[in-house]
């Protein structure tokens, strides 16, 4: 294998993407080459290393919780839909080909499946006394009207859930928020000085007039 062909394959070699025969040829060429192929490979590997480090740092710094919530929501919807279709097909098959005992059992299971979410919806309790309908969701603000400026934060709790905080920002006529604690205008970021772990406001609105 000559240098030109080797260099064509160096990227794939560095990625471990060559087949066994090509990899053997490239390795053999690199061991013998005095015309810069080994240096070329080291340069490729160094670039790859730097890119991995940079991407890794960005990934670690990024907050994917919201993205994951959306993905999870999508998966749940998909699962619900496919389950419905599967159940329909299975139930239909039972009616057509199986005996009445099996069909009655399936009907009982279906009835429980219908009844249980209804009970949760109306009692707010699931098994073990946990929170019921919507317990995993955020408090949803339908409307907001205030004498001053209002800032809304989602704050992550230790259990992964989020809490909604509605904060009426101080205006000129009343108390100033404590430094490093209370909200400041959106263009000045959010409370807590330079702490990057602080929550970012969801929404912000000024309505009405002070007093």
């Amino acid at each position: 294998m000559d240098c030109a062909r080797t260099r064509e394959l160096l990227d794939a070699y560095a990625d471990g993407a060559l087949d066994a025969a090509e990899e053997t040829d490239v390795r053999a060429h690199l061991a013998a080459c005095r015309l810069g192929c080994p240096e070329e490979l080291r340069a490729i590997e160094a670039i790859g290393e730097r890119m991995r480090a940079a991407v890794g740092a960005k990934v670690e710094a990024a907050d994917f919780s919201r993205l994951w919530m959306k993905v999870e929501g999508g998966i749940e919807k998909e699962q619900a839909a496919s389950f419905g279709e599967r159940a329909k097909a299975w139930f239909s098959e039972l009616f057509t080909y199986r005996g009445p005992v099996l069909a009655a059992a399936a009907a009982a299971v279906l009835a429980v499946a219908i009844a249980f979410p209804l009970m949760r919806a109306y009692t707010g309790k699931g098994p073990g006394g946990g929170d019921g309908l919507g317990a995993a969701g955020l408090v949803d603000i339908l409307s907001l009207e205030s004498s001053g400026t209002v800032t809304v934060w989602p704050v992550a709790a230790d259990d992964g859930s989020e809490t909604t905080i509605i904060w009426i920002t101080a205006d000129e006529s009343v108390d100033a928020p404590h430094e490093g604690t209370a909200p400041v205008p959106l263009d000045m970021m959010v409370p807590g000085g330079t702490d990057e772990s602080r929550p970012a406001p969801l929404t912000r609105a000024t309505q009405g007039t002070p007093g």
Binding site: F95, G132, G148, A157, I166, G180, P183, P191
Partner: protein, 155 residues
């Protein structure tokens, strides 16, 4: 399976479904209102310390609340709300808080919240998933602010 057997099976399924709906009916009939837990907390930079009663509220130790030196629980109330009936919540002498349940059919309870601490006031309509706590903060109180915690669940 012949036609007769299918018809019998259909009746059986309908009976089971009806039984399931009837079984749920009593729970549905009782869900006419919600119970709201209302916490009223005074956050201050005065040296009042942290009220031990607030140890189970980790949100206070995080931004945007974190940073106040002291937190004192002023009121911890359980308020029953019936649909359409405003309820006055006595949290402090200077604070008027009124909660109204504006519906809970097919959604989390819809709660209207009216707060007045002159010169500040706020009106909000929230969909509050059962047991999920939200906070309203920034209302002036002495040298600090009030933090009102609200969580509601069907009775």
């Amino acid at each position: 399976m012949n036609e007769r057997a299918r018809r019998a099976l259909g009746l059986g399924v309908a009976a089971v479904a009806a039984a399931a709906v009837l079984a749920v009916a009593p729970a549905r009939a009782h869900a006419t209102g919600v119970t709201c837990d209302v916490l009223c907390i005074w956050a201050t930079n005065s040296e009042v310390g942290i009220d031990p009663a607030l140890k189970d509220i980790p949100e206070l130790m995080k931004p945007p609340f974190a940073g106040y030196k002291g937190y004192k629980l002023l009121a911890d109330l359980s308020i029953n709300l019936e649909e359409g009936a405003p309820a006055d919540v006595p949290i402090t002498p200077d604070t008027k808080l009124v909660l109204t349940l504006n519906g809970m059919k097919g959604t989390p309870p819809k709660i209207a919240l009216h707060v007045l601490v002159p010169p500040k006031k706020l009106e909000a309509n929230l969909l509050s998933p059962p047991g999920k706590r939200s906070f309203l903060a920034g209302l002036p109180h002495k040298d600090g602010i009030l933090i009102i915690g609200l969580s509601c669940k069907p009775k």
